[in-house]
Symmetry: C2
Subunit: 357 residues, 2 copies
């Protein structure tokens, strides 16, 4: 019998930062396999998960959305990467490296109908870089890639503003923008150390420390952030990559040039509130400027329906155009600690937060 | 000497409906021509304006935007159509029919550098249909065409919601959507008579009378409008063509399906306020739904940079797919009356309001 460790959440927490007590590890035995640990179902595979992702959007899982509090709930979809250890599917052989969105369990049978959702990483990386399957070659990488290239539609020499610029997504957006598309780049992040870091390592020409801004009143905070943006790029911005919401959205909209585009990918500033951030929008100002605001998720690029994400990104990594930075937490037991760290103000993480199983 | 009548505005009016006293007609003599009434400047043309447009967006001209009140100010850019009566430009001959954005003067010399901004209508219509040059074959037509086709990107069978559906733009959007793109169409307009009219004549499957909605509180008004939308199209809308703002925007956003698009073309509900309508936007709701909000103006389509507006639209008119309806005011002296009627609640106008010089 094969022992399996899974991450469960304990009930729901509508507001406030998540805590370790909101999660637990449960141990079970692997089911869905025969005595030889081969999948019982034709077309299924057995996978060993090596890396588990924790990402800000997962804060949404904890919200009750009207559901009653429960005893516990397995986390059934999260980005992971790993190795195929048994296969009854003609597209996969033992030893193949994969990325996917699966339950947070260390070993599991992936049912036949879910196997198509995995992506094969063997062509692009070796086992030593498997963590990239939940980072630059996974959800955050494809979010940066699709959002910047196909939603923001950059032109050489244009200016992009990125919030959460030192994070898993923002650190890649900056590098693609600077090193591939030759854009002017402005990033916002928390603290002087991160500001220095995104300029030296993530392709940012200018960095704004949003923690230095008085956010006690939203209007005042947005005006101050706008002033800092103007100081960096007096002519305004052509594109805004939105990860944060709140004053960042307001400041970006009021700095957006004619034909400006906003790609909305996240709004972490509101994730710990019961309801998401509500922004005030002057729609008339968007008419003569022909401005656009567009929400998106990474799926079309991650699944290969649009663009050439895995090929392009792995090439850019090889060429040094995109550097990968990770903060690693060791052991599945550390998943809750790693996840909670995303919402802390200690800023101990750099780049993508990965949990090495 | 040639007598010229021009429409002038008297000072600025920041808020409230415009009145006739805010405009006056001034008479002058044509300048810039020689004794034979030929243009003095090489490359210039002399035009006789036959139709003058008045459109809701022109309310913006009256706003002071911090300027001091003035004695008077000629209206220097408005959509007009007419006939070339003298030419020193190789692209135009006497008798050619044109559309353009020019000062509101009955006869005028168009300087060489401005001639490129005129569009030639002779290929598409005869003199008897010259009013279409400020309507279906002018700004409103190209706004409906570009906004619906290239901003909203319709697919057959999808549902579009249009505000100000009986107006110059909305009446054409409905017909293109229904008769060319085979979409399901829902229009909003004021009063039961207009509701009946847009269903029988402008391609609308469903009509909502927004005047029947209690708008004393914005939240309540938006909820009521949303309920009426849901009654018409229970599965929601794929596209929203925004001419109005206010509760229409709110109701549309909360009825918008995944991958929904909003084309922002106007916000007449706020034109008589000093500041435009401010909408509250839940940006997080746009992420997983991959929704888009985009402002636009007609210029790329009207000038032929994008699409085949004049060719397509004149063909659709010939085929009866787009019916043209106009309310005509006779005489340049009626321009102010015609313009002011756009903001009245008497709803005496149908379709495009045109001033026949």
């Amino acid at each position: 019998m094969v022992a399996v460790k899974s991450v469960w959440q304990k009930g729901f927490v509508d507001s406030g930062a998540p805590q370790e007590e909101h999660f637990e590890i449960k141990e079970t035995e692997l089911s869905g396999v025969n005595a030889d640990n081969q999948p019982e179902e034709d077309g299924a595979v057995v996978v060993e998960v090596r890396y588990m992702s924790c990402d800000p959007y997962m804060r949404g899982f904890l919200k009750s959305q009207g559901r009653p509090a429960e005893e516990g709930k397995k986390i059934v979809s999260a980005f992971v990467s790993g190795v195929i250890i048994a296969s009854r599917n003609e597209n996969w052989i033992v030893g193949d490296l994969f990325g996917g969105s699966l339950p947070l369990s260390t070993v599991q049978v992936v049912p036949a109908k879910a196997v198509a959702g995995l992506w094969n990483l063997s062509k692009y990386i070796g086992e030593e870089n498997l963590s990239q399957g939940i980072g630059a070659l996974g959800m955050p990488g494809s979010t940066a890639y699709g959002g910047f290239i196909d939603v923001l539609e950059p032109k050489e020499g244009q200016t992009v503003f990125v919030s959460a610029a030192s994070g898993a997504v923002g650190s890649i957006v900056g590098q693609i923008a600077k090193n591939v598309y030759k854009c002017t780049t402005v990033g916002s992040c928390g603290g002087q150390a991160k500001c220095d870091h995104i300029k030296s390592d993530f392709g940012y020409d200018y960095a704004i420390d949003y923690k230095s801004i008085d956010q006690s009143a939203a209007d005042k905070g947005a005006a101050e952030l706008k002033a800092k943006l103007k100081e960096a790029v007096p002519k305004g911005i052509d594109m805004y990559f939105e990860n944060v919401g709140g004053i960042h959205f307001d400041a970006a909209m009021s700095s957006l040039r004619p034909k400006g585009r906003v790609a909305v990918c996240g709004g972490i500033s509101g994730y710990n509130d019961k309801e998401g951030p509500k922004q005030v929008l002057d729609i008339l100002s968007m008419i003569y400027t022909a401005q656009r605001i567009e929400g998106f998720v990474c799926t079309p690029w991650l699944t290969g329906q649009q663009g050439n994400f895995l090929g392009d990104m792995s090439q850019w990594i090889k060429e040094g155009k995109v550097k990968v930075e990770e903060t690693t937490y060791n052991g599945v037991e550390q998943w809750a600690t790693a996840f909670n760290s995303l919402f802390e103000n200690t800023h101990r993480n750099k780049g993508k937060v990965v949990v090495k199983v």
